[in-house]
């Protein structure tokens, strides 16, 4: 089966093995980190919501790993794995969730709303679909600046495909023929709303036809398929073939957030092939192919737990945001800050 992989990224048996191992380690770290956030949430240690990527790690890790350092990545709420693969540190994730003043968002925004735009990692706003045209803008600017070879990936869920922002941005990317890869995780529910109440097309890839862009379907529970399909989509975007729409079928193995028990997901669906745990599927593959062994996986798990515990211990000692030290302005142009002197007095 693996021999049938198109020759984009997975060129040799060794490359295939390495890609799977790298992805699996990302998936594992992400799962451990998400589990820790869930535990901290239940212990009342996190202000605000906690949103996990459980069940979506294969898709997310494959996306992050297909990108280069100079590319643009706009992850969504279930992309802990993709973020780690793209280069976000566990420390920055923990700092944002725990509201450290030293984190990238300095306590001004929290949980999944973190990033570093200048490093190509966009911090999402909450409005679904809104990050796609921002990725377009970065790619468009690079074209104006004559920078070539970079691509941008934006992650969405099935619900976001109903927004005007999704439509406008995908059409815009198609008109400009931008190297955009749009990764849609169809996890069957937008919060509690099932896909039958979200769209009426037979398959979300049908939408690509209307925009004049290429589309790809993938089983989001299958790491090999994710690596292959996303690798191909990214390679095509990078080669100048224009926007690529990737639709992954999978199931979210948790609530929308940790406040949500997901009682609306039927056990029939959970027991279907969509409900397979991609991490477990990948682990079995790795052992079956003898690419690694159980001892090595246990070692990785131990390293992951230690990395996370160390990060949390460090962040818990870090300063929290100080309202008296806060500048309380949204402007970068100091001379235009209104009534500043008066407010300070």
């Amino acid at each position: 089966m693996l021999q049938a992989v198109p020759e984009h990224r997975l060129e040799t048996d060794e490359a295939i093995r390495k890609a799977h191992l790298a992805a699996f380690r990302c998936m594992l770290r992400a799962r451990l980190l998400d589990d820790k956030f869930a535990a901290l949430y239940r212990a009342g240690k996190i202000h605000g919501g906690v949103f996990l990527g459980r069940g979506q790690e294969a898709l997310s890790a494959a996306t992050g790993l297909a990108l280069n350092k100079n590319d643009v990545f706009a992850p969504l709420i279930r992309d802990t794995a993709g973020r780690l693969a793209f280069g976000e540190t566990v420390l920055d994730a923990v700092r944002t969730y725990l509201g450290s003043a030293l984190g990238p968002m300095r306590g001004r925004d929290g949980n999944v709303h973190r990033g570093d735009p200048r490093a190509g990692l966009l911090p999402m706003i909450s409005h679904l679909g809104a990050m796609v045209s921002v990725v377009n803008g970065m790619l468009f600017a690079r074209r104006l600046k004559k920078i070539t070879g970079t691509v941008g990936a934006a992650c969405l869920g099935d619900g976001a495909t109903s927004t005007g922002a999704f439509h406008e941005a995908l059409n815009q990317a198609a008109v400009e023929k931008l190297p955009l890869i749009l990764i849609v995780a169809n996890n069957q529910f937008a919060y509690s709303t099932p896909t039958a109440r979200q769209f009426a097309c037979a398959d979300l890839t049908d939408k690509a036809v209307g925009y004049g862009v290429d589309s790809h379907s993938v089983d989001g529970t299958d790491l090999t398929a994710c690596l292959r399909t996303i690798g191909e989509a990214v390679a095509r975007a990078r080669a100048g073939d224009g926007p690529q729409l990737v639709v992954a079928e999978l199931l979210r193995l948790c609530g929308h957030g940790e406040h949500d028990d997901a009682g609306y997901i039927s056990s029939k669906l959970k027991n279907s092939s969509l409900g397979r745990d991609c991490l477990e599927v990948a682990r079995e593959l790795l052992l079956r192919e003898k690419w690694t062994d159980a001892g090595q996986i246990a070692e990785w798990r131990g390293e992951g737990v230690q990395e996370i515990d160390t990060a949390i211990a460090q962040v818990q000692r870090e300063p929290v945001p100080d309202p008296f030290a806060e500048k309380w302005t949204a402007l970068s142009t100091e001379r235009l800050i209104e009534g500043r002197m008066k407010n300070e007095a």
């Binding site: 990238p104 968002m105 001004r108 925004d109 709303h113 990033g115 570093d116 735009p117 200048r118 966009l122 911090p123 706003i125 909450s126 409005h127 809104a130 990050m131 796609v132 045209s133 921002v134 990725v135 377009n136 803008g137 970065m138 790619l139 468009f140 600017a141 690079r142 104006l144 600046k145 005007g164 922002a165 406008e168 941005a169 059409n171 815009q172 008109v175 302005t329 949204a330 402007l331 970068s332 142009t333 001379r335 235009l336 800050i337 209104e338 009534g339």
Partner: protein, 321 residues
């Protein structure tokens, strides 16, 4: 040779494109066609690849501008009508206006909004939404009332590292003329005394400054000396210049073309009440459009917005107190 308000906007953009390779223009019909109002006439030809037509997608237009700003460019976005920019409101107020605060990455975007009523334009080509942008943190909101300011403030807007909502009054585009473009101007954030007087302060902005000036001439014939403050920028709002004027006159009328609930005129009066209450010899008043959508028919339209006659009448009422 005379230069219109519209010429000034076109020239400021040409100047910005010429001086700064990071500047580009993106909007509906702005390319070879030169824009619905011709504010980008010949710029696509003069600056190939830097003045680009956009699909009718205000949300994606603004999103693209934010991405380009992150990459260090300085986009000028033309929204064909201010009324349509509402479709891109989310990207303006939630994406562009929060970017620096969230990430420390500046967001230098100039959003040009052809705004304000013209006879026959109707409810969806006439709106004056400056206050809703001013309400959100992170935006600069400009309302030039003269040809000189249209030019100088647009040039300064492009150089500012924050998103600027640049409100250009469509009524002034071709009616307002000047002899030449300015070589210097007041900085953004400073209001201008458009006419000196000692009996009453009229605070106005954008096209209403011209109507207030006409009303002042009418009132001068009756012996009243009206001082007119042109706000120029509604955010930041130059409270000091307004309060200093009220200190001279003791009376205040605030005129705006926008709807009456809240808004710039309410903000000005609130500030004068709290910072200059003791300076007032009569209750301050404000004059706004009526609280309905902007009507199409010239008879209704002219009665919907404050007119020279209505401004003069409101002023007389305060002066008699």
């Amino acid at each position: 040779m005379s230069i219109t308000y519209l010429d000034a906007i076109r020239e400021a953009q040409a100047h910005a494109l010429r001086d700064d390779p990071r500047v580009f223009i993106y909007g509906q019909d702005v390319g070879a066609f030169g824009g619905a109002f011709k504010a980008t006439k010949n710029l696509a030809q003069e600056f190939p690849g830097r003045v680009l037509d956009a699909p009718i997608s205000e949300d994606a237009i603004m999103g693209l501008a934010v991405g380009a700003a992150i990459e260090g460019l300085r986009p000028i976005v033309e929204m064909q009508f201010a009324d349509f920019a509402i479709v891109g409101f989310n990207q303006i107020v939630n994406q562009a206006a929060t970017l620096f605060w969230r990430t420390r990455v500046p967001c230098p975007i100039t959003v040009r909004l052809p705004f304000g009523g013209t006879s026959g334009a109707g409810p969806f080509h006439s709106q004056t939404p400056e206050a809703i942008y001013a309400h959100y943190p992170g935006l600069i909101v400009l309302t030039p009332a003269t040809v000189e300011d249209a030019y100088a403030m647009l040039l300064e807007a492009v150089a500012i590292d924050d998103p600027v909502i640049f409100c250009e009054h469509k009524l002034l585009y071709r009616h307002l003329k000047a002899e030449k473009l300015p070589t210097e101007a007041l900085p953004i954030g400073k209001a201008r005394i458009a006419r000196e007087g000692r009996d009453l302060t009229i605070v106005a902005y954008s096209a209403m400054v011209q109507d207030a000036l006409e009303a002042a001439i009418e009132l001068a014939a009756e012996g009243w000396e009206i001082e007119i403050v042109d706000l120029r920028s509604v955010k930041p709002l130059d409270t000091d210049t307004v309060v200093a004027s009220v200190a001279r006159t003791g009376r205040l009328l605030c005129v705006g073309e926008a709807w009456p609930w809240g808004g710039v005129t309410a903000e000005v009066i609130a500030r004068v009440m709290s910072e200059g209450f003791g300076l007032l010899d009569a209750p301050p008043q404000r004059l706004n459009a009526k609280d309905t959508p902007v009507p199409f028919h010239p008879n209704l339209w002219a009665a919907h917005r404050p007119t020279v006659r209505a401004i003069a009448a409101a002023a007389r009422k305060i002066l008699r107190q």
